[in-house]
C-alpha cells in the first residue's frame, strides 16, 4: 500500500476492516437461491446461514478424505486428523486460547453441562452457591438446577433493570458471604442483545474467590472475543451460530481447571490405558472427547472461522450494531410497537419486540406469509420474559449477510400485521 498523503489521519493498525454485506450475501447459497418469494432471514440468533466455503469444506472431507481420526495409520486418516486438530488450533487462536485448552462439544449447552457435571460435581458441596443472571438462556440455568437439586447448592441471580441491563450494584451483596464458587453469565443476551460487562463481573467474582463461566453463544459469532481479556475461567461457544455447521461447539477452560476435573463422558479416545478394572485418562484436550467426534463439523467450523477472520470480527460487530440501530429507528414508525432491551449502543444485532396485544406467534405467522423469518416465543429465556412481564416476544436478529432492506421488509410486514389484526 502507498503511504497516505501528508496531513491525513492514519487509522490505528487494529481498525477497521469493512465489508460489503451485499457481496457477502452472494456467498451464501441459501440466501441467493431462487424461490417463489424472496426470503428475508431475520433469525440468525437461532442459527446463522452457512457460506459456500463451509459447505464445500464438509463436502470435500466426506468425498475425499473421510476417515476416523487419531488412530488410522494411513494417508486419509492422517489428513482427517490433521484437519480436525487444525480446526481446534484455529478456533483456539480465534478466541485467544491455547489449543490444548479447547474441548470440542456438540454445542454451548453441552459445554456448560460439561462444566456442571465434571467441575461442579467434583468441587461443589452443600452450602456452596452459584450466581447466575436473570437473562440467562435455559442452557445456563437448567444444568445448575439439576446440580442444585442433587447437591443442595444455592442459586443466586443478578437482577435486571426494566431496560434489560444487569444490575451490577447487586453483585457485591450476592458475593459477600464468600460461599459463591462460580458466577455464570451470558455475554450477549439472545433476546435483548444486551452486551454484558463480563470483565467487571469477572473482576468482582475473582476477588470473592469465585470462578467465572461465560456463555458466549451469541458473542463469539458476532464480536472479537479473547478469553484472557474477558478474564473468565470457562467459556462456552457453539459453531452453528457463527456460520458453521450444527453439531459442533466448544468449551474453553483454563488448563489447571481441566487437569483437575474428572472426565465428563467415558469411552474411546479419552483414555490412555484401559484394563478391565479401570482406566487412565488421556491428556488434554482429548480427555474430554469420548467416542468419534463430529469430524466433518470440525472441518466446517474451521472454514467458518476462516470466513469470520476474513471479514473481521470488529467489522461484523459494527455491521450488526448499525443494523440494530437502523432497526430501532425504523421500528419506532410502527404504532403500538414496544422494543424490549437497551438502546442500540449497548446491544448487538438482536431486537426483540411486542406489537400491541397481538400474540408474537400471530405476528410471526403473518410475517412468514410475507417471506419474513423471525423468531417468536420465549426464546429459551422464560425467566427473562417473566421479569419483563411479557409471556413471549418476537425477535429479529442479524449477521454479516443481513442488509437494511431486510429491516425495511420487516417494518412493512409489521404494518401489514396490524392491518390484518386491526
Amino acid at each position: 500500500m502507498s503511504s497516505p498523503p501528508a496531513g491525513t489521519t492514519i487509522a490505528p493498525a487494529t481498525s477497521r476492516k469493512r465489508f460489503d454485506p451485499r457481496e457477502v450475501r452472494g456467498r451464501f447459497p441459501l440466501l441467493t437461491a431462487t424461490r417463489e418469494r424472496p426470503l428475508v432471514y431475520l433469525d440468525s440468533a437461532a442459527t446463522s446461514q452457512k457460506p459456500e466455503s463451509v459447505l464445500a469444506a464438509m463436502d470435500d472431507y466426506y468425498r475425499r478424505y473421510n476417515a476416523n481420526i487419531h488412530r488410522g495409520i494411513y494417508a486419509i486418516a492422517e489428513e482427517a486428523t490433521a484437519a480436525y486438530e487444525d480446526a481446534r488450533a484455529r478456533l483456539a487462536r480465534f478466541v485467544g486460547a491455547p489449543p490444548r485448552e479447547v474441548i470440542f462439544t456438540r454445542n454451548s449447552t453441552e459445554a456448560i453441562n460439561l462444566v456442571a457435571y465434571a467441575w461442579g460435581r467434583s468441587v461443589l458441596k452443600r452450602g456452596d452457591a452459584v450466581v447466575l443472571t436473570v437473562m440467562e438462556h435455559h442452557s445456563n440455568l437448567v444444568p445448575w438446577h439439576i446440580l442444585a437439586a442433587e447437591r443442595g447448592i444455592e442459586l443466586r441471580f443478578i437482577p435486571m433493570t426494566d431496560g434489560g441491563e444487569l444490575e451490577l450494584e447487586a453483585l457485591p451483596g450476592l458475593l459477600a458471604d464468600g460461599r459463591v464458587r462460580l458466577v455464570g453469565v451470558v455475554h450477549i443476551s439472545n433476546v435483548l442483545g444486551t452486551v454484558n460487562p463480563v470483565e467487571e463481573i469477572a473482576r468482582q467474582a475473582h476477588a470473592a474467590g469465585a470462578l467465572v463461566l461465560v456463555d458466549a453463544s451469541q458473542s463469539v459469532p458476532h464480536m472479537p472475543v479473547d478469553v484472557k481479556a474477558l478474564g473468565c475461567d470457562f467459556l462456552a461457544l457453539t459453531g452453528h451460530k457463527m456460520l458453521g455447521p450444527t453439531g459442533i461447539g466448544a468449551l474453553w477452560a483454563r488448563r489447571e481447571l481441566l487437569e483437575a476435573m474428572p472426565p465428563f463422558l467415558g469411552g474411546g479416545e479419552m483414555i490412555r490405558e484401559v484394563k478391565l478394572e479401570g482406566s487412565k485418562w488421556n491428556e488434554l484436550p482429548w480427555k474430554f472427547e469420548a467416542g468419534t467426534m463430529p469430524i466433518a463439523e470440525a472441518v466446517g467450523l474451521r472454514a467458518a472461522v476462516a470466513f469470520c477472520v476474513e471479514l473481521g470480527m470488529d467489522a461484523i460487530f459494527e455491521h450488526d450494531r448499525s443494523l440494530a440501530t437502523y432497526a430501532l429507528e425504523r421500528l419506532r414508525e410502527v404504532p403500538d410497537l414496544r422494543i424490549l432491551g437497551p438502546p442500540a449502543e449497548k446491544r448487538g444485532g438482536v431486537v426483540a419486540f411486542e406489537l400491541g396485544d397481538i400474540h408474537p406467534h400471530d405476528v410471526a405467522t403473518v410475517l412468514d406469509h410475507h417471506g419474513i423469518a423471525v423468531r417468536a416465543g420465549h426464546h429459551c429465556a422464560m425467566p427473562l420474559h417473566d421479569r419483563l412481564g411479557v409471556p413471549a416476544s418476537a425477535r429479529a436478529s442479524f449477521h454479516c449477510y443481513s442488509v437494511p432492506e431486510d429491516v425495511d421488509a420487516l417494518v412493512e410486514g409489521l404494518h401489514h400485521a396490524r392491518k390484518v389484526f386491526g
Partner: protein, 134 residues
C-alpha cells in the same frame, strides 16, 4: 390483502375477536385446564352435562389467535351435542374448521382446545393425532 390474509381474517380473527361460548360455568360437571408451554397459551374448558349431552360449554384463558379461535369454534360446534361425540373429534376436524394450513409449531396452538376437551371428558391427555404413538 392477499387470499391468505382474507381467509385468516374471516375465519380465525372473527372467532378470536368475537369468541363464542367464552367464559366459565358456575357449576360445571367437567372442568379442565391445560397449557401449551411453547407459546404460553392457556385454556380452561367448563362443561355442563345433561342426559349425556353437552348442555353448556364455555372456554376461558389467553393465548394466540389460533388457540383461542379453535376453542371458540369447538365450543360453538359441540354445545348441544352428545358428550360421546367428543371422542370422535379428530385433529382434521379442527384444521377443517380453522381453514388454513399450519406448520408443526402452530399445530399445537390449534389442537390445544381439542386436547383440553378430550382430557376433561375422557382423561385422554395426549395431543390429538398422537394418541396411538404416545
Amino acid at each position: 390483502m392477499g387470499e391468505w390474509d382474507e381467509l385468516y381474517r374471516e375465519n380465525i380473527l372473527d372467532h378470536y375477536k368475537h369468541p363464542r361460548n367464552r367464559g366459565v360455568l358456575e357449576h360445571p360437571d367437567i372442568t379442565y385446564e391445560d397449557a401449551n408451554p411453547l407459546c404460553g397459551d392457556e385454556l380452561r374448558i367448563d362443561i355442563e352435562v345433561k342426559d349425556g349431552k353437552i348442555a353448556q360449554i364455555r372456554h376461558s384463558g389467553h393465548g394466540c389467535s389460533i388457540s383461542q379461535a379453535a376453542a371458540s369454534m369447538l365450543c360453538e360446534r359441540m354445545e348441544g351435542r352428545p358428550l360421546e361425540e367428543v371422542k370422535a373429534l379428530t385433529r382434521e376436524d379442527v384444521l377443517e374448521m380453522l381453514g388454513i394450513e399450519l406448520g408443526p409449531v402452530r399445530l399445537k396452538c390449534a389442537l390445544l382446545a381439542l386436547k383440553t376437551l378430550k382430557a376433561g371428558a375422557y382423561g385422554i391427555t395426549q395431543w390429538p393425532g398422537e394418541e396411538e404413538t404416545a
